[in-house]
Amino acid sequence: MKVLVAMSGGVDSSVAAAELRREGHDVVGVTMRLWGGESDTGCCSVSDVDDARRVAQQLRIDHLVFNFSEEFNDAVVAPYVDAHRNGDTPNPCIECNRHLKFDRLSQRARLLGFDAVATGHHARIERQPSGVWRVARGADSAKDQSYVVHMLDQRELAYTLFPVGHLTKSQVRERARELGLRTAAKPDSQDVCFISKTGGRETFLGHRIPFRRARVMNESGEQLGEVDAVELVTIGQRRGLRLPGGSPKQFVLDVDVHAGTVVVGDESRLARDVIVVRGMSWSHEPPAVGASVKVQTSAHGATREAVLEEILEEDGRSSARVVLRWREAQRRTAPGQSVVLYDEGDRLVLGGGIAV
């Protein structure tokens, strides 16, 4: 097979390329240039491109660079800023996967005659006996990334390979060491590539949206304090609210950016019996109403059991919105976060969307 492997310059995608090469595929590596602005997180930087290129040379495969910075800005950065403006807590890495890696890149790969696109995600793609493709959790449960690739549909799943999904992280590093790849000991990237470590989210957003002050109040409407930037407050947050000491721990229960209010209260007040998810994408057909599912609401969070209570139409798209009833009440998920549904065995991705 002729495979285009997305090489970020990290160890996982390095080994993904090596595995494909070992299996005898005709492999070409590509690094996407996504963020055109300043960054000190190392991601998308010139030195990452250098690492990817050097690994490709060591593996004797061609290496390309595609400049998708315009699309990245339109599909990831601008919506990230907008989401904060509306008081949501977005996950830009998931939008990058959705719009760049598994859309823009695979589109181009098809155009250029590749049979598949591969990445270094820790997840597995399996074909069920029925012929249906599914994303399954990666072999290394601590590094599993099925959550961030949940949006893959049948067409994309049939065109995508995750060559390190069956390996643990330490096996990946071991293979990289055996091959003498310079990325063998490179630390995992943790941060959002376009947010600098020194400036953080606050500086990044501060250059792009006017922050609004907000009143911090309790559930009875009594003002307890003030925050400078309501756009930076997240539901469930406890720190950074500048509340007077001595009182019981206060958690953010609600944020209204338009009214300029932040409501705080006891942690127990965050408990919810249902969660509504919009913008659902399904790997295949949605399960039946009443089905029991496992639900994950953050990249490395635990899964909880819920029942699929309703499947609704949204913006003319059928099955694009769901209501899930938790088996046991759960802490509220911040709007904007991705919510991913797994099968009862908590192994196969069914679909996912954005918390309302």
């Binding site: 390309l64 660079v65 910075s69």
Partner: protein, 386 residues
């Protein structure tokens, strides 16, 4: 020329990025990489041999360029020559640097760094002379001085030729004290450099664009033109450019420049014919393709196209697969293609500018290369437009 890297025969259409070295240049430099290794600044007989080689090379270059040997400064390349001219003039004289919006980054980034003025270009990428005059008077009107005007002789992306005589007239009239610099890097193979040297004060050339080695450039600095040196040290090149003399590079540069000049007229005929064939082959068989600058206004060695509804990166991949080496715009540090500032300055609409393709020809280009390029480009564009 059918070249080969890892057994794929290649048609090389990237002469404007770098040209294959001329045999004359390789032969000329060989002894100075081998037993004639001396430093020409020394005071022994061994040094004197090297010194003589450098002096002869300088005479030869001066003869080709129509200047005095003392006006020839050897540098590490075109970029250094551009930097030396611009920073050298502004540091020496103060005041404002001015350039066109379509300059090579080696000029544009210097002028922007110095917060200079950038002048609009016309739809062929040539500086708008009226706009230049207007800019010069604006600077003078606000009681500032124009220290330098830099205008490229030939655009490196689209190949358009600037009428340097007209530029010189405007600069001498509008800013009589200004240093007039021209980046003539892409002119060397196609224009008589004497015409450019004649009307300007400082000229930059790059050896590897005309069959010399990489890492070598020439800055012509006319007598009486004062520039602060960019690189200080041992005082080589009459204190204008310090650093141990690159004897092999200088000798090879002179040999390549001489050979280029000797063959220029016949090569223009030959390569001009190849370019016409290439342009006709592509534009007559593909709809929605612009020849970015008409042949009469561009050099024989650069054929630039804007192909609607395709993306340069994808096209270059398919061309590469088909054994055709070409380029789009300039690449950034990561190797990614950047949108072209030249096409933007020319006002090319984005539907076309996204499909930029530069095919640059030179002394090794053959009819077979051209036929191959036409075939591969037609097939690639058809595939990408499917």
């Amino acid at each position: 020329m059918q070249m080969s890297t890892s057994s794929v025969a290649l048609a090389y259409f990237d002469h404007a990025a770098t040209a294959p070295m001329r045999r004359e240049a390789i032969e000329a430099m060989r002894p100075y990489l081998d037993d004639q290794f001396a430093n020409p600044s020394g005071s022994h007989r061994f040094s004197r041999t090297a010194r003589r080689a450098v002096d002869e090379a300088r005479d030869d270059v001066a003869d080709v360029l129509g200047c005095a040997p003392g006006e020839v400064v050897f540098t590490s390349g075109g970029t250094e020559a551009d930097n030396a001219a611009i920073f050298g003039a502004v540091r020496r004289h103060g005041g404002v640097a001015v350039c066109s919006a379509a300059e090579h980054h080696a000029v544009l980034h210097c002028v922007e760094h110095l917060r200079g003025e950038v002048v609009a270009v016309d739809r062929n990428g040539v500086i708008d002379i009226d706009a230049l005059s207007a800019t010069l008077s604006e600077v003078v009107d606000r009681n500032e001085r124009v220290s330098l005007v830099s205008v490229m002789a030939v655009n490196n992306e689209v190949g358009s030729i600037t009428p340097m005589r007209d530029v010189a007239r405007a600069v001498r009239a509008g800013a009589p004290g200004a240093v007039l610099h021209s980046d003539a890097v892409q002119a060397a193979c196609w224009l008589d450099l004497r015409d450019i040297v004649l009307v300007t004060d400082v000229v930059s050339l790059s050896a590897h664009k005309f069959g010399g080695p990489k890492g070598m450039g020439i800055m012509v600095q006319k007598a009486g033109i004062m520039l602060e040196p960019l690189i200080m040290g041992g005082g080589q090149e009459r204190d204008r450019r310090s650093g141990t003399t690159n004897v092999a590079g200088i000798v090879a540069t002179a040999a390549a420049l001489r050979a280029t000049t000797t063959h220029r007229e016949s090569e223009k005929q030959r390569v001009g014919g190849l370019k016409s064939r290439l342009v006709a082959g592509i534009t007559s068989q593909l709809p929605d393709v612009l020849q970015t600058v008409p042949s009469g206004l561009s050099v024989d060695g650069i054929a630039h196209f804007c192909i609607a509804d395709v993306e340069s990166e994808a096209m270059l991949f398919l061309l590469d697969e088909g054994g055709v080496c070409a380029s789009a715009a300039s690449a950034c540090a990561s190797g990614a293609m950047e949108p072209s500032h030249v096409l933007r300055a020319m006002g090319v609409e984005s539907r076309f500018s996204k499909g930029a393709l530069r095919l640059s020809l030179g002394h090794t280009t053959t009819v077979a290369d051209v036929e191959r390029a036409i075939e591969v480009i037609l097939a690639s564009v058809k595939r990408l437009r499917r």
